[in-house]
C-alpha cells in the first residue's frame, strides 16, 4: 500500500472510531484525517439519555477511547469543522473553514440528527433535543432548577429521558401522538408493559396526545396540546426520531434512498467512497432485505466492513440486528427484527413484575425476541434465530423448559 495515501473520515462517532481502528488493523499505512462538526473527541451516545444524563457517569467515562489510543493510531482530528461539500471528480472535500483537502479514499460516517418539531415555541429556552453531549449539558442545566418537564415523543429516547429526569427529581409528563408507546418498533404487548412501568414509576404518560405549541416569554412555561390542554412545564425535551445525514452524499451525486445506499461491503456508488452507521441503507444477508438502522452494533460492525473495503479486502457485513434500552431497573435487549410476525409467545409474566421475554414468530420460525431483564433468554434467542429451526411455541412459553434444550 502507498503510505502517502490519504483517507478522510467524515464524522467522529461510533462508526468512525471503529473504522479508523480497523483501517490500521487491516494495514492502512497512509494518513488518516477525521473531521467532525462537534467539538468533543469521540464519545459514546447510548449513555447520553441513561447514566450520563442521570449524573452517574463522568465525562471521561463517556469517551470512546482514551486520547493515547488515537495517538497510537496516528490519526489527525479536525474537530468543530464541518465538511460542506465533496468534489468526487477532483477527490477533495471542502470545509467550512474554507480549507480544501484531497483524499484517496473517503468514509462517510455522518450519522443522523434529531428530527426537528415544527411547532411554535420550539426555539424557547429550556426546550431541548437529545442527540449530542452538548444537548445533554443543556438539559442538565435546565434540570437543576426545573420542577416539571414535558417530554414529546414516546420512543426509546423519550422514555429513557423520562426515567433519567425522574431520577433527578423532576416531575415528568410524556406526550405521545400514537395510541401506544414505541409504536414504530415494539409490539402492542411490549408497549403495554412500558406504559405500566412508567406509570408505576410516577411518569404521567398521555397517549393520543399531540403537542401543538410551546409557550413562554423567553423560557418555556407551558406546553399546549392539540386538544387545548395546557401542561405547566419548566423544560421540554423533543424526541421524535432522527433524520439520516445524507445531504453531503446526495449533493455529491452518490445514490441515496432512505440513507446512503451501500452494498454489503459498505461501498457507495463511488468506488473510492464507503459509508457506515446510521447514515446508510444497507442489505442484510441474514434477513434478505435492506435496512437503515440506528444502533451502535450496526455502526461498529458495518465500519469493520467499510475499513476492509478501503484496504482492498472483502469482508461482508452480515449480522443479526440487536439493540438495548435501559429504563429504571429494566434492561431491554432486542435481537432480530419483528416485522411481519404472525404469532407472539410470552415467556414469563408480562402483566406483573419486570422479567419476561416475548418471541415473535412467522412461518414457525423465530424472527425476533424482546427480553426484559432476561439476558440469558436474549443470548439464547439470538442463537435460535440464527439457527432458523422450526420453533416449538409451547416449549418457548413453558418456563420449565430450558431454552438451551431447544438448540440443535
Amino acid at each position: 500500500m502507498n503510505p502517502s495515501n490519504h483517507c478522510i473520515v467524515i464524522g467522529a462517532s461510533h462508526a468512525a472510531v471503529q473504522l479508523i481502528i480497523s483501517l490500521r488493523q487491516n494495514g492502512w499505512e497512509g494518513n488518516i484525517t477525521v473531521i467532525s462538526d462537534e467539538d468533543h473527541p469521540p464519545y459514546q451516545r447510548p449513555p447520553l439519555s441513561k447514566a450520563y444524563l442521570a449524573n452517574t457517569i463522568a465525562d471521561e467515562q463517556l469517551a470512546l477511547r482514551a486520547p493515547a489510543a488515537y495517538q497510537k493510531l496516528n490519526v489527525t482530528f479536525k474537530l468543530s469543522t464541518r465538511v460542506t461539500s465533496i468534489d468526487t471528480q477532483n477527490k477533495q472535500v471542502h470545509l467550512d473553514s474554507g480549507e480544501i483537502l484531497g483524499f484517496d479514499k473517503l468514509a462517510l460516517c455522518t450519522g443522523a440528527r434529531a428530527r426537528p418539531l415544527p411547532i411554535p415555541g420550539a426555539d424557547l429556552n429550556a426546550v431541548h433535543y437529545l442527540r449530542t453531549m452538548d444537548d445533554v449539558k443543556g438539559i442538565q442545566a435546565s434540570a437543576t432548577t426545573a420542577k416539571t418537564a414535558v417530554i414529546i415523543g414516546g420512543g426509546y429516547i423519550g422514555l429513557e429521558t423520562a426515567a433519567s429526569l425522574n431520577k433527578l427529581g423532576v416531575k415528568v409528563t410524556l406526550l405521545e401522538t400514537e395510541s401506544r408507546l414505541l409504536k414504530r418498533v415494539a409490539s402492542p404487548q411490549v408497549s403495554a408493559f412500558y406504559l405500566r412501568l412508567h406509570t408505576e414509576e410516577g411518569i404521567d404518560i398521555r397517549l393520543d396526545t399531540q403537542a401543538a405549541k410551546l409557550l413562554g416569554d423567553q423560557a418555556l412555561t407551558q406546553v399546549i396540546c392539540a386538544d387545548g390542554t395546557a401542561i405547566d412545564a419548566d423544560m421540554a425535551i423533543i424526541g421524535i426520531g432522527v433524520i439520516a445525514n445524507t445531504e453531503l452524499a446526495s449533493d455529491a451525486g452518490l445514490t441515496v434512498d432512505n440513507g446512503i445506499l451501500v452494498n454489503e461491503f459498505a461501498q457507495t456508488s463511488h468506488e473510492d467512497i464507503v459509508a457506515a452507521g446510521d447514515c446508510t441503507n444497507h442489505p442484510n444477508p441474514i434477513l434478505n432485505r435492506n435496512l437503515r438502522l440506528e444502533s451502535v452494533p450496526n455502526a461498529t460492525e458495518q465500519a469493520k466492513a467499510a475499513a476492509a473495503s478501503l484496504c482492498g479486502i472483502e469482508k461482508a457485513y452480515a449480522e443479526l440486528p440487536w439493540f438495548w434500552s435501559d429504563q429504571f431497573d429494566v434492561k431491554l435487549q432486542i435481537t432480530g427484527m419483528n416485522q411481519g410476525y404472525t404469532e407472539v409467545v410470552v415467556r414469563g409474566d408480562i402483566n406483573n413484575g419486570r422479567s419476561f421475554s416475548v418471541f415473535y414468530i412467522a412461518n414457525n420460525k423465530i424472527l425476533a425476541a424482546d427480553c426484559i431483564n432476561r439476558p440469558k433468554d436474549f443470548m439464547l434467542a439470538k442463537k435460535l434465530i440464527l439457527q432458523g429451526t422450526d420453533c416449538d411455541a409451547a416449549s418457548l412459553a413453558d418456563e420449565s423448559t430450558d431454552l438451551k434444550s431447544l438448540l440443535i
Partner: protein, 106 residues
Amino acid sequence: MPVINYVEFDGTEHSVEVAEGITLMQGAMDNLIDGMVAECGGCCVCCTCHCMIDPRWTEVTGTAGTQEAELLGYLDTKEPTSRLACQVNVTAAMDGMVVRLPESQY
C-alpha cells in the same frame, strides 16, 4: 497507574497501564487490544468483553453480579474465573494482574 497484563488467546501479551476507576474493558479498548469486542460499550448487555481473571487476583476483583453471572452462564467458553470486563473497575490492588482473553467473543 496499575499495570494490567492482557493475554490474548494465541499467547500475545500486552502489559499496559490502566487508570484506576476505569473498567478492564475500557483499558483493553484504549490500548487497542484485539480479542476484546465490547459491542455495547460497557452496559453489561452483549457479553462480548469476556475475560478470565488469573486465580491469584480473583479475590481482588470480586465476583460477578446477578445479571453478569446470568450472561456468563450462557457462554460456551466460560471458565471458573470468567468475568465481563466492563463490570470490573480497576484498582491499585490490581497492579500486575493477569487477564486472559478467550479465542472468540461470539
